[in-house]
């Protein structure tokens, strides 16, 4: 067990930054001061994270054992123990490094984006607080501290979505995000209870604290026999129940069906927030948790199945909505939901490392796309509707070219980062040779269906991203064009503005009329430099995970091998055949159980290599086809009308409001409060009261004449009683 006290610096540096910015920054109101504090503290985190991950003692990313840092024992009651302790193993090393690094870039970007905002210091205090929470989440060494970060990022997300407090949609979105996350958190909490009762611990790692041995809950469950693949085990209170409960939390945090609707609304926050929280880091926390608990999931084939189905369904569902949105950030938001779906698909089929790989590349290219869109919005004076853009490549060349790399990355064009990670997931889905659920879909293996849907989603992704690029950067300039629909909307809002006239207009307002001599402008250096860095990462970042088959045998998948120890190698039990098949996509599973095959794998089965290469070619063709379709459809007519139901996002929000929120509110108001509380209970009591009053009426009439007020009367009485007490008391004490 390695100790490194520097670990706590990673989380506490941003916390200190948040406090300083809040207390001192609020007084100074100096943008330079706030920027230096915010970016500086995150820079410290970044340096320390990389130092511990790669340098100190050989680096946590290469070490066998996690680096631990015990701070204090947080809660210890009756056999339950939760430490405030941090740990960095290979998985959290990956997360800590990309979170701090991408976070740092976004902080720098935000210093330009938020320039001139009245709440500059407040914004950076929240952003730093977010970094603290997120890093606590990934570096926690037990479930409960992870939950601290988990709720903490939810809070920061709430605060930052609602940052423009005057905007109604912002405050609505903030609350919605928090509540939906809370629904998920319920699952995490109950899941943690279950894990605790199953293992007597909530720690991630085996450790010794103050002479006391704390065993790892994850290892304990990994050693148990796997649950069978049936629906019944979901409610049996065993491993599968725990896994499903945790996954409920993941659907909330990572915006999966059915709890995904908050994420698109969350775009009401400032764009750097969307990039940092709602694309690169926080929303991938669900993936982190599932991978962290892979030992639990591997023992719960039913839960794995659910994860795969939900992930895949979300991927395609969100992609269809993304096709029809006109707000540039909304498109990217649905794209994020869709990409998160891919990650869960990977988890569900047992390709945990591929999921993390996609988390990382996605963090690069999606942060890039969001920041790029932020740069566009900044240049367009806070116009977000793509119908009023066009031909921006002339005006914002840096933004354009960096966005192009992001676009190619997400579409899955080779060399760019997204290609390797997405292709890895699709290949793994395909290569899952047999799964327990094959029979359930009338002879068609489920993994083939998942793979097919995954491919379709890849095409859709290319189409909507191409649409976004063309609407924004190509075609005619539409800044001053009259858009019937848009104008109608704008005029409604103009009235609002008028009503609030006299308020300071420091905050972002939608759909204000652009002046006639308006020209979009390129953004300042502190916004374009982060874009360029991310563009490089989006281009080359995928190379760390280049698989053997595609590198022509030059390198074996470095990323995969590095993260291998994090994934529990399930020793097969004879009675759990289903699991074995279901997990067959994980070659290392077999490597342990059947040593003879292990050799084959290291030498790479030529047949498998051929398949992998063929599938990669298919992916590329489909990605290019998607781009082609996109250009064909939207190249000439960027404003092509999309199906109404897609524009309306399949009316999911209306469904939730109409069938859950409103009935519950009405029930509470009309039945519980007015009906039961005021009607039944109070009615009863008041009846009795009236009776008593009627009886006492005569007595009262006499009293009122004599005593000026009840208060004086009873005060005297109380004093008499007290005096009596005291008199006797003193006599007794003597």
């Amino acid at each position: 067990m390695t100790e490194n006290n520097l670990l706590s610096l990673i989380i506490f540096a941003p916390l200190a930054g948040a406090v300083i910015n809040w207390l001192i920054g609020g007084k100074l109101k100096n943008e330079l001061f706030s920027s230096v504090v915010a970016c500086g503290t995150v820079a410290i985190s970044t340096i320390v994270a990389f130092y511990i991950a790669f340098v100190a003692g050989g680096g946590a990313f290469h070490a066998e054992k996690p680096v631990l840092d015990h701070l204090w024992t947080w809660i210890q009651v009756g056999g339950f123990r939760a430490d405030f302790g941090l740990g960095m193993d290979r998985l959290s090393a990956v997360y800590a490094c990309f979170v701090t690094f991408v976070g740092f870039l976004i902080h720098v970007f935000a210093t330009g984006y938020m320039h001139g905002d009245k709440g500059f210091y407040r914004f950076f205090a929240f952003l730093n607080l977010f970094m603290f929470s997120m890093l606590t989440l990934v570096l926690a060494d037990n479930f409960l501290l992870m939950f601290v970060g988990w709720e903490g990022v939810g809070l920061c997300s709430y605060l930052l979505i609602g940052y423009y407090i005057k905007k109604d949609e912002a405050r609505e979105a903030a609350k919605k995000a928090f509540v939906m996350n809370r629904i998920g958190d319920w699952g995490v909490l109950i899941g943690v209870f279950l894990i605790f009762t199953m293992t007597g611990s909530i720690s991630f790692y085996d450790k010794v604290v103050g002479g006391e041995t704390v065993p790892s809950a994850l290892d304990a469950i990994a050693k148990m026999a796997a649950d069978p693949f049936t629906a019944g085990v979901i409610f049996a209170g065993g491993i599968t129940s725990a896994a499903v409960l945790l996954f409920i939390g993941a659907t909330g945090k990572s915006a999966q069906i059915p709890l995904f609707t908050w994420l698109p609304d969350a775009m009401a926050g400032p764009t750097p927030v969307s990039a940092l929280i709602h694309a690169a880091t926080m929303v991938t926390a669900g993936v982190y948790m599932v991978v962290r608990c892979n030992g639990i999931y591997q023992n719960a084939p039913t839960a794995m199945f659910i994860v795969a189905i939900i992930g895949c369904a979300t991927a395609v569902f969100a992609a269809t909505i993304g096709l029809a949105q006109n707000d540039i950030k909304k498109v990217l938001a649905y794209s994020t939901v869709s990409q998160l779906g891919y990650m869960f698909l990977a988890c569900g089929i047992g390709a945990f490392v591929a999921a993390i790989f996609h988390v990382m590349t996605h963090a690069f290219f999606k942060a890039l796309l969001f920041l790029g869109s932020g740069s566009v919005i900044h240049g367009m004076h806070h116009e977000q509707d793509m119908r009023r853009m066009g031909n921006l490549r002339k005006h914002m060349p840096v933004t354009f070219w960096t966005m192009v790399t992001g676009w190619l990355a997400i579409c899955g064009v080779p060399i760019f980062a997204g290609f390797f990670s997405k292709d890895e997931i699709l290949y793994r889905t395909f290569a899952t040779k047999a799964s327990a659920s094959v029979a359930t879909l009338g002879g068609v293996p489920v993994n083939m269906v998942l793979w097919g849907v995954g491919l379709a989603t890849a095409v859709l992704t290319a189409v909507y991203m191409t649409r976004l690029m063309w609407m924004t950067f190509f075609g005619a300039e539409r800044f001053h064009e009259e858009l019937h629909e848009v104008e109608a909307y704008a005029s409604v809002h103009a009235d609002d503005d008028h009503a609030a006239h006299g308020d300071d207009d420091d905050e972002e307002e939608h759909h204000h009329a652009l002046p006639a001599d308006f020209k979009p402008h390129e953004s300042p250096w502190n916004m374009t430099v982060p874009l360029m860095v991310l563009a490089v990462l989006s281009t080359l970042g995928g190379l760390v995970g280049i698989p053997y088959a595609l590198s022509g045998g030059a390198v074996d998948n470095y990323f995969e091998h590095a993260l291998e120890p994090v994934i529990v190698k399930k020793v097969e039990h004879s009675e759990t055949k289903e699991v074995k098949h279901f997990l067959a996509s994980e070659p290392k599973t077999e490597a342990v159980s059947e040593p003879s095959k292990a050799a084959e794998h290291t030498e790479h089965d030529p047949a498998e290599l051929a398949t992998e290469r063929t599938l990669a070619v298919v992916s590329v063709i489909l990605a290019l086809a998607g781009i082609g379709i996109g250009i064909a459809m939207f190249g000439k007519t960027p404003l092509r009308k999309m199906p109404k139901i897609l524009e309306d996002k399949w009316r999911i929000d209306e469904f939730y409001n109409g069938y859950i929120v409103d009935p519950l509110t009405n029930l509470s108001r009309d039945f519980l409060w007015k009906g039961f509380d005021l009607g039944v209970v109070d009615g009863l009591v008041n009846g009795v009261g009236a009776l008593v009053a009627a009886l006492g009426g005569t007595v009262r009439r006499i009293q009122v004449g004599f005593v000026r007020s009840y208060a004086a009367f009873i005060l005297c009485g109380a004093l008499v009683v007290i005096g009596y007490f005291v008199y006797y008391g003193l006599k007794l004490i003597r």
């Binding site: 947080w74 809660i75 009651v77 009756g78 056999g79 409960l144 939950f147 601290v148 709720e151 809070l155 709430y158 609602g162 407090i165 005057k166 405050r171 903030a174 609350k175 509540v179 809370r182 319920w186 909490l189 109950i190 209870f193 279950l194 605790f196 009762t197 293992t199 007597g200 304990a220 050693k223 148990m224 026999a225 209170g237 009503a499 609030a500 308020d503 509110t665 509470s668 519980l672 409060w673 509380d677 005021l678 109070d682 009591v685 009261g689 008593v692 007020s709 009840y710 208060a711 004086a712 009873i714 005060l715 109380a718 004093l719 009683v721 007290i722 005096g723 005291v726 006797y728 007794l732």
Partner: protein
């Protein structure tokens, strides 16, 4: 100094009472109403400082009483002035003395009429509340319990809001009804004890408890159930447990700020404290037998309170209903009969005192400015009162149980305790304890809904109501009031160990008393990893 530590609890009780008399005297001779609040504040502050001497106490036996005093009082009925403090009451006494100066200062500009009586009542209330927590004689306990009603009745009825008379009477009828039942039970216990003690009855809680423990005094069957319910109803109304909670929203809404703060922070705890101290200890078998009723009502209260809170148009009423939900959690933890759950319940009592007390203070601040609490009268307040908004949001987060703030620790321990408990039993493959915990857990979701919805409507958005444009942010006095509570919220959330440590032995003693006949525990042993390999 020796005199003080020797008679510490007595001083804590009597100092405010003498203070009340002094106030009246002061008013008679000097007629300087302006000085009254200073005197009252000084007295309560001194009382708080004195109460800190409790930390010097040491118990002679694990879970035993400190600063115990047992002096014969009315020999004819063998009533003793028997007081003492243990882990169960320790923090509640300090919570009381701590919250008093704060609530006094909260009235600085709010009370204009009859200041003498107002402050005298506040001081009398403090005496009564401390008395409740330290009494070890049932009759003395009863007297303090009743005595706490009177000042609160007038605080609501005289200095309250629009419906003050109705609310005050309702408050009085509900609680007095319960405590009358309790009085009957206390007298019954007196005679039962006399039956086994050679005709000499006693109200002494410790004596009766020891007689029960040693098997001399056996109360069983219907009689025991009746006695149990007599106590339990009195305390349940005080908590308040669903469905006898309806006095609370009215009392809170109409009480002056100081009254609401004290009501939420301390008075409600008398109910949960009483259940734990008297019902659990005196009637362990009945406590187990009827636990399911309390658990069901607690869960209904958690969900019901949250749902009704959601649709309240009045901020204060909303917070009041949230109290119903929070106190439901406390009941749930207590009746899990596990160390984790009961410790969590005790901790949650303190948390609720701090965060809900703070919420009522904050609502009071805005009421003093605008003389309205209707949510629709506000909107966009954060634009003119940023500091107030910040503090309100932090308090909200504490109330809805955000980790690293106090509320989370309590709720979490309660739910872990309930989860591990076997009190509800397991039928077939259905573990009812799990179901109870999962249902209670939904309260955590609803809490976020109603609190954030309110915060959103009051603080965010555009400032639409012109009357709100000139609102001033918090004054130094108000910051000073709320700051100690904020510090506690963070400290209790980050480092609960010192609190839990002090109460542990007493809580365990009570827990063991309750489960003494069930093979020792309701706590399911956690399986050790080694045993699990061949599940």
């Amino acid at each position: 100094m020796d005199f003080i530590t020797e008679n510490l609890l007595t001083i804590l009780i009597l100092l405010p009472a003498f203070g009340a008399i002094a106030l009246v005297g002061h008013q008679m001779f000097w007629k300087q109403e302006g000085q009254l609040k200073w005197i009252t504040f000084g007295l309560t502050l001194v009382n708080f400082l004195i109460s800190l001497l409790l930390f010097t106490g040491e118990t002679t036996s694990p879970g035993g009483f400190m600063f115990e005093k047992n002096i014969p009082w009315i020999k004819a009925i063998n009533t003793n002035y028997h007081i003492g403090v243990d882990g169960l009451s320790f923090w509640l006494v300090i919570l009381t003395t701590f919250i008093m100066p704060i609530s006094v200062v909260s009235t600085w500009h709010a009370v204009e009429k009859r200041q003498t009586a107002f402050y005298a009542f506040l001081l009398l209330l403090e005496s009564a509340m401390i008395g409740v927590f330290v009494s070890l004689d049932l009759l003395v306990f009863y007297l303090f319990f009743e005595a706490s009603l009177v000042p609160m009745f007038f605080l609501i009825g005289v200095w309250g809001g629009e419906n003050r008379i109705y609310s005050a009477v309702k408050f009085f009828i509900f609680t007095a009804f319960g405590s009358l039942l309790m009085l009957v039970a206390i007298i019954a216990l007196y005679y039962m004890y006399a039956g086994v003690n050679g005709g000499v009855g006693s109200f002494d809680f410790v004596a009766i408890l020891n007689a029960m423990k040693s098997g001399n005094l056996l109360i069983a069957g219907q009689g025991a159930s009746l006695l149990f319910w007599a106590f339990a109803i009195a305390f349940s109304i005080k908590v308040p447990l669903f469905p006898v909670h309806t006095w609370l929203p009215d009392a809170h809404t109409d009480a002056p700020t100081a009254g609401s703060v004290i009501l939420a922070a301390v008075l409600l705890k008398m109910g949960t404290y009483g259940l734990m101290r008297f019902n659990f200890a005196l009637f362990p078998d009945q406590s187990r037998e009827f636990a399911y009723i309390f658990i069901v009502l607690a869960i209904v209260g958690i969900i019901y309170g949250a749902l009704v809170a959601m649709v309240q148009p009045d901020v204060k009423r909303l917070v009041a209903y949230s109290s119903v939900a929070h106190m439901g959690f406390v009941i749930l933890g207590m009746f899990s009969f596990t160390e984790t759950g009961m410790q969590g319940a005790l901790y949650q009592m303190l948390n609720h005192g701090v965060s809900t007390g703070a919420l009522f203070l904050l609502v009071g601040f805005i009421y003093e400015r605008r003389h309205t609490r209707q949510i629709t009268d506000f909107g966009g307040i954060a634009n003119v009162m940023p500091l107030y908004a910040t503090i309100f949001v932090i308090t909200t987060m504490s109330s809805i149980g955000l980790p690293l703030l106090n509320g989370f620790v309590g709720e979490f321990l309660i739910m872990v305790g309930m989860w591990k408990s076997t009190v509800l039993g397991i039928t077939g493959s259905t573990n009812w304890n799990y179901i109870a915990t999962m249902l209670a857990g939904t309260g955590v979701i609803f809490a976020a809904v109603y609190m954030l919805w309110m915060v959103q409507r009051v603080f965010f958005g555009k400032l639409t109501n012109p009357k709100n444009k000139t609102l001033k942010d918090l004054s130094w006095r108000e910051i000073g009031l709320i700051l100690p509570l904020m510090i506690l919220m963070v400290y209790m959330g980050v480092h609960p160990a010192p609190f839990l440590k002090r109460s542990r032995e007493s809580v365990v003693a009570i827990q063991e008393r309750v489960v003494h006949q069930t093979g020792g525990t309701y706590e399911r042993a956690e399986k050790k990893p080694a045993e699990l390999e061949h599940r």
